[in-house]
């Protein structure tokens, strides 16, 4: 399809200006770089990025090249939120002292699920608690993909990774996915949201909202990884949608403590629709699949209750 008049009919949709430019080394079908590309469009030019070690860092900045048209800093793996704290504090004092002109510059911290829910959780908790005005974006591809698909605390139950292999005494990942948005929300920050690039407008508007709030904001983005999930490279968007439609990854936001479902996919599809095509779940037994189904049902019910939806 071709929409030559798109600029006229949809002037306020996603801007054309690119801040993550073509030429990076991301895998085919990577939904993580897609998510970041959309997020940066929502944030705009006056943005500074602090990024953790991980996929997005390693695909973007082999010395002397860079993928970023925005100021960008990478210090280490576990400390992105702390680095962002420093950048935000420096800008604040430099403006206060009149050393640099006043400008609405927004600082973001970007990390993967390992850099967020495992090794970076302390720095993140500290930065959220201190109330810096910044947005933390977790790009969750559900394992340490950059180092070769090892499990993280964000890896879903039953999934095969190189360090949670299924075997005679293992079903694969033996723990349930850590609920990072809830942990972020427990810091009583003004804005928390989940998003997925399969729903680009939802993602775009949530990042815009996060930029506006006065204080820390946290966005947890499910980023389909064909390499690690063992799916065809042209099905990233489809699996992002299936994660949402099955209730496995609900799209919601928590604004000043108030939960709101931003997209209600009911009636939910069966989890088998999401699990069956992915290599990382191919070893699952009927018993494990029904355990996952029950778990999703319960989580969905709890979320609806928090969102004030009763049915």
């Amino acid at each position: 399809m071709n929409f030559p008049e798109l600029d006229i009919y949809a002037a306020d949709t996603i801007p054309k200006e690119e801040f993550a430019v073509p030429g990076h080394r991301a895998c085919q079908g990577c939904a993580e770089i897609l998510a970041l590309r959309i997020a940066l469009k929502a944030l705009g030019r006056n943005t500074i990025i602090a990024m953790a070690t991980g996929c997005m860092e390693i695909i973007s900045t082999p010395l002397p090249l860079t993928d970023w048209r925005l100021p960008w800093i990478h210090v280490a793996f576990e400390n992105t939120a702390a680095v962002a704290s420093g950048v935000e504090s420096a800008l604040k004092i430099l403006v206060d002292k009149g050393r640099i002109p006043k400008k609405d510059i927004h600082v973001i911290a970007v990390a993967g699920d390992g850099g967020t829910s495992d090794i970076g959780i302390q720095a993140l908790s500290g930065a959220l608690e201190r109330g810096h005005k910044f947005t933390y974006i977790c790009l969750d591809n559900e394992a340490y993909m950059n180092t070769g698909i090892q499990r993280s605390s964000s890896t879903p139950y039953g999934a095969m990774t190189t360090t949670s292999p299924p075997g005679k005494k293992s079903i694969g990942q033996s723990t349930w996915k850590k609920n990072m948005p809830k942990i972020a929300a427990a810091h009583n920050i003004p804005y928390v949201a989940t998003a997925c690039p399969s729903y680009p407008f939802d993602l775009f508007s949530k990042v815009k909202k996060a930029r506006m709030v006065n204080g820390p904001s946290y966005i947890h983005i499910l980023s389909v990884c064909p390499t690690g999930w063992r799916i065809p490279v042209n099905e990233s968007i489809k699996y992002g949608r299936l994660a949402v439609e099955t209730g496995i990854f609900p799209l919601y936001e928590i604004e000043k403590g108030k939960y709101r479902l931003t997209f209600n996919p009911e009636p939910l599809r069966q989890v088998i629709d999401y699990l069956s095509g992915q290599g990382r779940f191919r070893h699952l037994t009927v018993k494990t699949i029904s355990a996952i189904q029950e778990h999703v049902k319960l989580d969905w019910k709890r979320l609806k209750y928090l969102c004030g939806i009763n049915k």
Partner: protein, 388 residues
Amino acid sequence: MSTKKGIEVSIATSIAAQLARVEVVAAYPITPQTHIVEHLSELVANGELEAVYINVESEHSAMSACCGASAAGARTFTSTSAQGLELMHEILFIASGLRLPIVMATVNRALSSPLSIWGDHSDIMAARDTGWIMLFCENGQEVVDTVIMAFKIAENRNVLLPVMVNLDGFSLSHVIEPIEFPPQKDVDSFLPPYKPLYSLHPDKPVTMGAYAMPELYTEAKYAQEMALINSKKTIVDVMTEFGDKFGRHYKPVETYNTENTDFAFICLGSINENIATAIDELKSNGKEAGLIKLRLFRPFPKEELLDALKDKKRIAVVERAMPAGAINGPLYNEIASLIYNNKLDITLENYIVGLGGRDVHPEDFVDVYDKKIAAKTDKNYNVIGVRK
């Protein structure tokens, strides 16, 4: 002319940071550094220092936040000790690799285990090869002056490296000394506001912290190493300028009573004062011993040290860290390397003292001079006073 006032060295350290008009402080409390950061947060709270004080949740985040703040163009200061220095160890290398002119007051303390809050140099010796410029202080006045000089050294466009100002825990940090503070206007003219070469700003986007493939890593590290080695010229220039302006003169290597003797002690930090006391005691008995103080440890001041070592026949290297399985202590090994490379005919002795806050007595140094304490035991060094 400013007058001296009696003040705790930790408080004086934070006043030095205030005089330097630091803009971001990110710190986590640890004994014996606490008085420094307490006073800094008080200065910020009272509006006496226009800065942001970030109450980070760990030393790892302290150094990480310092990296972010310095990269964004703010004059950045922190302070830590022992376990805190070890927790930020990873980021120390990154701060120097990113060429960020952060200044840190390191209040030297023993490392656990066993846990000890008391002073020695095991923390700094474990961090000595992190690419930072490292200066050691003997007394409170030196700490104040060195903190101010440290920013000027770090921010010099030919340097752009972080600087550590080392002061001994308790035996220096917690003592009250008469200290002279330079007037603010003189510090301002000596140390103008920091103007970064590059900083994080949307008007001129830069990428900081890229990774290097094998084709470039060596070159990147070599360039950094050259900057560190060449920083000595700036260090000497800054010390000279400081001396001309404020009347207190410093050098990378300083000596005491070395002229008429072929024997000298070499040491870092506040123990130098104990050694000087021993030297005076020896002198009153007609014996001559010298002292070579290393104020600069990184980059290692080899030319200055060689100059101090000429005509010496016997050197006692006194240090506050266990060799940890090495042939000798880390300071001895550096000096041995210098002596070997320059084919000097000097007998080197190695004494380990003052671990975990153990008292160091001037009498021990008198005994070293008189050879009443063996230079070598079953090891190539002597841990003075150890009960085996």
